[in-house]
């Protein structure tokens, strides 16, 4: 009797089923997702990405269920809820999750090809009936699905809460079928992060270097757009019109592009966080108070942002694809 837990140690031929040689990308996508979801950090950061939606839930629940039931506050609560631009709340929540989506992508996507390069994993993938396309598309799909879900699930939870609770305050009327638009927003976010992350990842042999580079690109472009935002704020304070190019360049970063696309898809220019932040007819320094809405930069022009988005998604994928060389597999 063998000491091994498996008594029969002899090699046997595998005579079970083998699927056709197509669709290997799905196996790779599944494994990419399995490896990612085994990390506790992934769940922690994913939950954290919904932080603004948690705040919104708490605020609206409080306004609806606590203030709405207190004598004397009922009218105020109703007025508050009536003024809410519901679809803009999703834009706010999505905007505030951007930095955390970056972290999630750093964890699950940006290192994936680089770490495979370090471990020579391509030797394993490409010696099996997997093509370069299967490999890159499988990786892309795994990252895309997870980031899209991390982005979509909090929005969907908030949408369901709003749909069930705030119909009298124009939740559906304000934006019918909004959840479909939100799904498209999430899909765009997932596609952009997946393509850019994998493109950067394919250039390195160390996941950390790839992560640092991606984060560097993200923050450099973010700083650039914040400079544009600064120009816009300065113009608003000086009550001079902001040049149109500045208002477009505000969306020239990884997160800016996603927020810009989200505004186009949802069909809004954005608004201040809560009602009451707009002008109330007061004067400050002898001049009329500035409408906070003027600080908000409206939706970008779809004529440039959509082609640039498509270019980045397709281009990122193409860069990753071109870096995978089957002929380096042996020797």
């Amino acid at each position: 009797m063998s000491n091994s837990p498996i008594a029969d140690l002899s090699y046997r031929h595998y005579d079970g089923p083998l699927s056709g040689v197509g669709k290997r990308w799905w196996s790779i996508a599944k494994m990419t997702m399995q490896v990612a979801t085994k990390r506790r950090g992934f769940w922690g950061w994913s939950l954290f990405s919904a932080w603004w939606f948690f705040i919104l839930l708490a605020v609206f629940w409080f306004a609806d269920n606590v203030l709405g039931n207190l004598g004397g506050f009922q009218q105020g609560a109703n007025a508050f809820l009536q003024q809410i631009k519901w679809k803009d709340q999703f834009i706010h929540g999505f905007s505030y999750s951007q930095m955390i989506l970056l972290v999630v992508n750093l964890m699950i996507g940006v290192g994936s090809i680089a770490n495979d390069n370090r471990a020579n994993a391509l030797l394993v993938y490409l010696s099996k009936p997997c093509s370069r396309f299967d490999y890159v598309f499988g990786k892309w799909l795994g990252v895309f699905i997870l980031i899209s879900l991390v982005s979509f699930v909090p929005m969907m939870v908030f949408w369901l809460y709003g749909y069930m609770s705030f119909q009298p305050y124009g939740f559906w009327k304000d934006a019918p079928w909004l959840f479909l638009r939100l799904a498209l927003v999430s899909v765009c976010s997932g596609a952009l992060h997946a393509s850019l992350g994998l493109a950067v990842s394919s250039l390195f042999n160390q996941g950390r270097l790839a992560g640092a580079t991606y984060a560097g690109i993200y923050f450099m472009s973010y700083i650039f757009t914040q400079v544009m935002n600064g120009f816009n704020s300065a113009s608003t304070f000086q009550r001079t019109p902001t040049p149109a190019i500045v208002r477009q360049l505000f969306y020239g970063s990884i997160d800016g592009m996603q927020i810009g696309l989200a505004k186009i898809i949802v069909g809004t220019d954005g608004s201040p966080l809560f009602p009451g932040m707009g002008p109330n007819g007061g004067r400050r320094g002898g001049r009329p108070e500035i409408d906070m809405g003027q600080f908000i930069i409206g939706a970008p022009n779809a004529a440039w942002i959509v082609p640039v988005f498509v270019l980045l998604v397709v281009g990122g994928f193409a860069v990753a694809y071109s870096r995978i060389k089957a002929v380096e597999v042996v020797g």
């Binding site: 091994s4 837990p5 498996i6 140690l9 002899s10 090699y11 046997r12 031929h13 595998y14 005579d15 079970g16 089923p17 083998l18 699927s19 056709g20 040689v21 290997r24 196996s27 790779i28 494994m31 490896v35 085994k38 770490n115 495979d116 370090r118 471990a119 020579n120 994993a121 391509l122 030797l123 394993v124 993938y125 490409l126 010696s127 099996k128 009936p129 997997c130 093509s131 089957a326 002929v327 597999v329 042996v330 020797g331």
Partner: protein
């Protein structure tokens, strides 16, 4: 196993990297069993493996692997082949059993069967105790074994082993060679080994293919390759005997001591005539013959001779 059935058939294959010709009008047959692929660095062995796996499109010529055309059956060929690469390789973040099962899924196995067989294959490769450890924590010997496990998870008809004993200590090397010999000789899996280590090839292979500068230099069974032209005999004497050597030469034969007590003898005519002459000469010269066997070269001599020719 039928050693006359060609698993791989290469016909006038030419592979070029730009102006450099890596394989030049190369033709060979790799038959069932265990075959060694020999050749100095840059001979074209790696290019041949790459071509068999379908990573390189030949400039001219063609062939088939397991009945599948080199040009049209890349993925199908890789589904029937297992590759144990020379370099360390694994999928980051997975345990050994997860890694091998995933390799099975990539080859087309259903997930549940891949997992079950991963346990079996790891056990067979001697990694049963360590199968839940992350592969990154494995020693060099264990990494070699897991590369073999992932190559054979899906029950390939042909295993390509690229320097399978690289980096192994003597005990690990012995175990790896035992494993390869068992797979190829007892389990009916065909093996093609690319190696620089002639003793390894000699120990496990039945046949060899010698490649030099992109051309086939020699191929056949190791026994045939080691044969010496004229088929001389090695006569093992009890002690050195000059008279025996002199008398053989006087009888028109060739005799030269190869070791202290062994004399290589070549006598024209039939084998029976040669044996009679040897025994008569030994009697005349009062030499005690302890054994006579067909002389053969070492594989290293045969390889060098083929390469230098």
């Amino acid at each position: 196993m039928n050693p006359n059935v060609a698993l791989v058939s290469i016909n006038n294959l030419t592979v070029r990297y730009g102006a450099f010709t890596a394989l030049d009008d190369f033709s060979c047959q790799i038959e069932e069993g265990c075959t060694g692929l020999l050749g100095p660095n840059g001979a074209g062995k790696t290019t041949l493996l790459k071509t068999l796996l379908g990573f390189i499109t030949p400039t001219a010529g063609g062939g088939n692997v397991l009945g599948l055309d080199l040009y049209n059956g890349n993925k199908e060929i890789r589904q029937k082949i297992g590759l144990m690469p020379e370099q360390d390789c694994h999928i980051p973040g997975l345990s050994a059993v997860g890694f091998v099962a995933y390799a099975g899924e990539l080859a087309g196995m259903p997930a549940d069967q891949a997992l079950r067989r991963a346990h079996e294959v790891l056990e067979y490769c001697g990694l049963g105790e360590a199968r839940y450890r992350n592969v990154e924590t494995y020693s060099t010997g264990m990494k070699q074994r897991i590369k073999l496990a992932q190559a054979m998870i899906h029950g390939p008809k042909l295993l390509l082993l690229d320097e399978p004993t690289n980096g192994l200590d003597p005990k690990g090397r012995e175990e790896m060679l035992d494993l390869i010999k068992d797979i190829s000789h007892n389990k009916g899996v065909n093996v093609l080994i690319s190696s620089h280590l002639l003793p390894d090839i000699e120990r496990v292979c039945d046949r060899v293919v010698v490649v030099l500068r992109g051309k086939l230099v020699s191929q056949g069974t190791i026994r045939d390759l080691k044969k010496i032209e004229g088929q001389p005999l090695d006569v093992d004497l009890r002690e050195t005997n000059e008279a025996f050597v002199t008398k053989i030469k006087a009888n028109g034969g060739y005799a030269a001591p190869t070791t202290y007590t062994t004399v290589r003898v070549q006598i024209a005519g039939t084998r029976e005539h040669a044996m009679n002459t040897i025994l008569q000469t030994a009697k005349d010269s009062r030499a005690q013959v302890r054994g006579v066997k067909l002389a053969e070269r070492s594989l290293e001599e045969a390889f060098l001779s083929a390469v230098q020719a």
